[in-house]
Symmetry: C2
Subunit: 229 residues, 2 copies
DNA sequence: CGACTAATTGATTTGCTTCAAATATCGTGG
DNA sequence: CCACGATATTTGAAGCAAATCAATTAGTCG
């Protein structure tokens, strides 16, 4: 297992400050897997029998409602885990996981993962904390969805993405993976039309610079002001 | 500690099938506390230093946004825990907890609770599962808030409440604690006006029977149909 | 160069909020 | 026991944010 993998595992909040030997143990038990852009890693409703950590690339978690409409629940970056809570609970996956770009993941069968938890009990403590962090995030998103207008929610979504997946460029902070107006709409409970109009207005005002599947934040403070007010 | 307490603890998913001696240990470490209706148990932003289980009554968890608008995140019934995730993460409470009716809770200081977890490791396993269940619930609510119309969301909220706090009456299933139009609005991201109009229409159609701070579900199937379509 | 996917942009509609006021219900103290 | 203040609910009217409808245009890729 190459050193790069261990450093990425170290970044995962689930494995955080475990000793290097433990990380090696964990990495060795996992199966690395290459993913092409658009590939579905697991499907909503599938039995949750695998735990995943992203090594490279970007993955989105999308929930589909009975009527076919979709909501993007989160974007995953390197070092983050997904599928794990469902697997540990012996529940079906509550959403699809789809590679947004070409990616590399490490996956474990849930029984192997439980064995790792037994050998490294710290993982158990972290898993509650990790679920807790996401719980709080989701609670905030619910409050936001309940009370804020669409433009604010789009501003927040773009800020969050720039935060977690920002790459500095001469023009500003660029979201470092391709994202469509449709996906931003599915993150914010809006429509691609409204997102398009909103980004167009922001581009006009010099707050953002957007193009096909690309968004650059030029004026973070202005966006933050949109999100707050 | 009276037997009634132990049976209630048994109902808590966190303590589920622990042996009776363990439950007695847990109950003995906790401080019982009587709450009057409307009393605030902890406040959003307070350091999370206590874990709580409800013994009797009903508690609501309410998040307030910077602009003062509120969102009701959940209603707690006997046997359910609250505040625990924040406490275990050494995080401030992300929301207020307020007794809706006269209630009785059992509370632990977080260090005592951690000690209980050490003595009864099963609690740790359960805590992840418990956080996971709520995680999934919240994800569903986000999808719903993102894509459904207000009437559907109100229908879902009423169904959920009838499910978790339903008391059978001659007329149908009554939500067994007082709930205002305002609170239903804060659960669904709507306004008390819209909730009032919606309930009035349902009452008219014989689907519900509502009064001041009371809601009775007379035709569950019809409500379910509203939620689905 | 097509075929496809993504984005834009105008016109129209609508579900829901907001504004405004009246009415109903409850608890409480005189 | 009734009056009165506080809380909760109803209902109408107006306004608006954002969805929907409807084309058109712009990139991208094989």
């Amino acid at each position: 297992m190459p050193i790069a993998d261990l450093n990425l595992l170290r970044r995962a909040e689930m494995f955080g400050s475990l000793p290097t030997e433990a990380l090696a143990d964990i990495a060795a038990a996992g199966l690395p897997r290459r993913l092409v852009a658009g590939e579905r890693i697991f499907a909503q409703g599938d039995p949750g029998v695998t735990c995943h950590t992203l090594m490279e690339g970007r993955v989105k978690i999308v929930q589909t409602l009975p009527d076919g409409t979709q909501a993007v629940l989160r974007f995953i970056g390197p070092g983050e885990m997904y599928g794990t809570v469902a697997a540990l609970m012996d529940q079906p996956f509550p959403a699809d996981a789809i590679a947004v770009t070409e990616s590399v993941e490490l996956r474990w069968g849930v029984s192997n993962f439980r064995e790792l938890m037994r050998r490294h009990p710290e993982i158990g403590v972290r898993s509650t904390a990790s679920a807790g962090t996401r719980l709080f995030d989701l609670q905030n998103r619910i409050s936001e969805l309940s009370t804020e207008r669409v433009e604010q929610r789009i501003a927040r979504a773009v800020l969050r993405l720039a935060e977690q997946a920002g790459r500095p460029t001469p023009q500003g902070t660029e979201i470092d993976f391709p994202i469509t107006r449709q996906e931003l709409a599915e993150m914010t409970g809006s429509t691609l039309h409204t997102v398009s109009r909103t980004l167009a207005a922001w581009d006009q005002a010099g707050v953002t610079a957007s193009a096909r599947r690309r968004v650059i934040v030029r004026d973070r403070a202005a966006l933050q002001a949109m999100a707050d007010h």
